[in-house]
């Protein structure tokens, strides 16, 4: 027999043998024992009884907070605080920008004393 043909034939034999081995192995299937099946389903029940319902209970809130609501709420809250601060808790009212009484009195005394010393009643007549 030609060497190349023999090699091909051996290769095919091995391939057939392997295919048959795979077939045999597939036929020997370990099934799921009732005990293992029960354990797996008990885990599913436990997850559903404990974790899943808890997650479901908070799910709407979680979804709500994880979307656009948080940035929106944060912006709204900031605007509210800023508005309150400007409207109610402004540190210095606009009226306070006017000169206080003592300063106005001081100016009054200056008019009274200094202008008389200079000899002018009306500062507009000083002709600067």
């Amino acid at each position: 027999m030609h060497w190349g043909m023999m090699m091909t034939s051996d290769k095919n034999d091995m391939s057939d043998q392997l295919s048959q081995l795979f077939d045999d192995a597939r036929a020997c299937k370990p099934g799921l024992s009732p005990h293992l099946r029960a354990r797996i389903l008990a885990d599913a029940d436990a997850c559903n009884a404990g974790l899943a319902p808890q997650r479901q209970r908070f799910a709407p809130w979680r979804n709500w907070f994880s979307g656009w609501a948080v940035p929106g709420l944060a912006g709204g809250a900031m605007v509210a605080v800023a508005g309150f601060w400007i409207g109610v808790a402004m540190p210095m009212p606009v009226v306070a920008l006017d000169a206080p009484d003592w300063m106005q009195n001081a100016l009054g005394y200056m008019d009274l004393i200094a202008l008389q010393l200079i000899g002018v009643d009306d500062p507009l007549l000083m002709e600067f």
Binding site: M14, S15, Q17, L18, Q20, L21, F22, D24, A25, R26, A27, C28, K29, P30, G31, L32, S33, L36, R37, R39, I40, L41, D43, A44, D45, C47, N48, L51, A52, P53, R55, Q56, A59
Partner: protein
Amino acid sequence: MPLEQRSDVDQAALLGRVVAGDRRAAEALTDMIAPRILRFAARMLGDLTEAEDVTQEAMLRLWRMAPDWQDGAAQPSTWVFRVATNLCTDRLRRRKPMVNELPDLPDTAQSQHAQMMQAARAKALENALAHLPERQRQAVILRHLEGLTNPEIAAIMMLGVEAVESLTARGKRNLSAILAGERDALGYDDDQ
């Protein structure tokens, strides 16, 4: 057709029903996925008790993942296979020598001689598989014993399809070399 062999069932929809508290959906998913995981883990680890632990752990992770399952992601069975693959790898790395003690797998009813021969062949294959490098073993088991497609295996092993094809081909070549001396012992001449 057994539930585990049906590919038309929408596993993601079943998982959604599990989250909603439907126990029958959990049973259906268990019957569909767990036996395949058990077989895969038993062949990877060569120990049925360990394989059962891996199967339970992988399914538990599926139940925990269920509320956050994203539609359009991989099939749940593919995901569980991936988890089981990692769990098997972890266990194999924790072991020092490779354990060749293989599980006695229940068999279907046949004549006693044929049954013994089939069991011997299955055991020979399991022994040969145990001598393959881990990734080749995974690929060969998933492709030729679990009948998954190359793209499915690629998703499980997180490889490209070409890499899976290469692993499978090399695995088969190595298996052939390992089994070459056992041809007579496996009784192929009796059959042919």
